[in-house]
Amino acid sequence: MTVPVTPTLLYLDNVTVSFDGFRALNALSLAIDHAEMRAIIGPNGAGKTTMMDVITGKTQPNEGTALFEGTHDLTALDETAIAELGIGRKFQTPTVFELHTVEDNLLLALKNKRGPLATLLSRRTNREQERIDSLLERVRLPAQRHRRAGELSHGQKQWLEIGMLLAQEPKLLLIDEPAAGMTDQETADTADLLRDIAKSKGVIVVEHDMSFVRALGAKVTCLHEGSVLAEGSLDAVSANERVVEVYLGR
């Protein structure tokens, strides 16, 4: 497959994942464009995390197509290979290397050669240093650079993890509940940061906090029982009767 079959950045078609008969994803179809931000909402068990697992290679779908940049078959690749293609993932609970310093966390995430020999012999360059400095600025952690990541507050860890995603220079970012456990101010800042990122990269945000989703100002997809229930602007989706029934509550 060398000729792109679709112009979109990410293309999921008819993806089904079942665990012991339970269909976590049921013929899910979704397309994300270059530099598009998409918010995914839906009740617990709707398949949001399973969808991320399929996109990042953690779970193989039972059937369906998952294409990245129209040419790469994501179902045939593992986590490492998919990360190298340019898909970065932020977990629901912030996952950073707690015993490494904030700087080292970013250093490990920088787009560099990833082999054991390359890292054994690598030397810190000025270019890397500048890149780390600018990332620290962007996620507002320059003052914490020498602290261990484990000492950061919950919100700072979330930001560090977003910084690590940016350091990978991905084309698509999958972000799972970035606003969980954040103060109102941090939530607003996070929405600004994500909107800024989405100017140049594809961003998929899974979120429950509707005011945060509103602040993102993005197209919304509501999942339910493993497939798409509604798609469109937040207002349109919120007005959808089925969405109100299964998710937003009567």
């Binding site: 990042t56 953690k58 986590e79 490492t80 990360a83 190298e84 970065g88 993932r89 977990f91 996952t95 950073v96 290397f97 707690e98 015993l99 490494h100 310093t101 700087e103 080292d104 250093l107 490990l108 995430a109 990833r114 082999g115 054991p116 020999l117 890292t119 054994l120 012999l121 690598s122 810190r124 240093q129 780390i132 650079r145 020498h146 602290r147 690590m164 990978q168």
Partner: protein, 378 residues
């Protein structure tokens, strides 16, 4: 944001102490007259040399367990394989001086009525070949074993169990006479190493110094590896394996690389151990041996390198004393020590000492300057 300097305080301390040992032990044995209180008797030199080899084995375990979270309970196997490679060389050096005076066949083969040398014994009469095998045989086993285990993402306690199974299987295999490696009795009655009599005091001094040198080089190699970006990835794998994978690192390649390196270090330790104790037999593969190594590392302080050395030296010195004074209590003492360290010093002796140092220096700083301690940019 420099990477850690290679010669930090701990490294300087370890290398200084090893240098002192390499000078003091030969001097106290060779220069101090017999009868003096400072004289080190001849039988103590190989005993100390043995401890140093075991410290190198502990170092190899700390490299994978302390920094990459791979708990191998079968590292004694790599140590024993390195030992067997050296033992095979030493057997070939005996030549016609054996009990049966066969110029080619070692005694046990004559005893078993074998007519010719098995294929895998060829080459071992040549020292450079044997030395290469000391590295390659444990390394190759680790590579193949690790490739299967890490590729299938066998981790944690499951990995530990299959390493126990590996060393147990090797022990059973080496017990068999038809393995052609001396069966139950193993390889012994060594005469010469590179033309020097292995029993001679001067040879033992040289072997001791070489063991210390090997330990120092092993320590430096590990320190360099864990101080590099490679080492940071190892710690990342240890603390958040799937995060590392989603960052695009091939976790299994890292595990395989460090596991193989560690097995080679263990092999070198075994090769230096054998001429000093004068025998290698299948009991070196005993699963309990490998578990003991993990205890040394835990006692000294996991993930510190220096702790592995300290733990191995202290526990083995304790073992020598205990097994002479109160032989029936040794295993209870060892078990008790492990429980004590796990409960009260989870970061081992080095960790506990580091905490003490931190606290006292903090108190000093707090007493001297009124400003609160800030995180200095170093």
């Amino acid at each position: 944001m420099r990477t850690q300097p290679l010669f930090d305080r701990q490294t300087t301390l370890v290398l200084s102490l090893l240098t002192i040992a390499a000078i003091l032990v030969p001097a106290m044995n060779g220069l101090v007259p017999r009868g003096s209180a400072l004289h080190l008797s001849d039988h103590l030199v190989p005993l100390l040399g043995k401890y140093v080899c075991l410290a190198l084995l502990a170092l190899s375990v700390d490299l994978i367990w302390g920094f990459c979270g791979i708990l191998s309970l079968g590292h004694g196997a790599f140590f024993a394989l390195g030992g067997y490679a050296m033992g095979m060389y030493l057997m070939r050096q005996i030549g016609a001086r054996g009990v049966y005076a066969d110029p080619v066949l070692p005694d046990f083969m004559v005893f078993l009525n074998w007519k010719e040398l098995p294929w895998f014994w060829h080459g071992f009469e040549w020292f450079p070949f044997a030395a290469l095998m000391v590295l390659l045989v444990p390394g190759a086993l680790a590579l193949v074993f690790g490739w299967f285990a890490f590729r299938s993402r066998v981790t944690g306690v499951y990995f530990s169990i299959i390493t126990q199974a590996m060393t147990f299987a090797l022990m059973l295999a080496f017990f068999r006479n038809d393995m052609g490696l001396g069966g139950n009795n193993g390889l012994t009655d060594f005469k010469e190493l590179l033309g020097f009599p292995v029993q001679a005091g001067s040879t033992r001094i040289v072997l001791f110094v070489l063991s210390v040198l090997a330990l120092a080089c092993g320590y430096l190699l590990c320190r360099w590896a864990v101080g590099s970006t490679f080492g940071k990835v190892l710690v990342a794998v240890r603390d958040a394996e799937s995060r590392t994978r989603f960052l695009g690192y091939r976790v299994e390649h890292y595990k395989l690389a460090v596991f193989t390196l560690s097995a080679m270090l263990a092999g070198v330790a075994g090769a230096l151990y054998v001429p000093q104790v004068g025998i290698i037999n299948p009991s070196e593969f005993a699963p309990a041996n490998s578990i003991e190594v993990v205890i040394w590392v835990a006692v000294g302080g996991r993930g510190t390198l220096a702790g592995a050395i300290l733990g191995a030296l202290l526990v083995n010195a304790g073992k020598t004393w205990f097994t002479a004074a109160l032989p029936e209590f040794w295993l209870f003492a060892l078990g008790g020590l492990f429980v004590f360290v796990t409960l009260f010093m989870p970061r081992g002796m080095i960790g506990a000492a580091g905490d003490l140092w931190e606290r006292s220096s903090q108190r000093l700083r707090a007493g001297r300057s009124p400003e609160p301690a800030t995180h200095a940019a170093e």
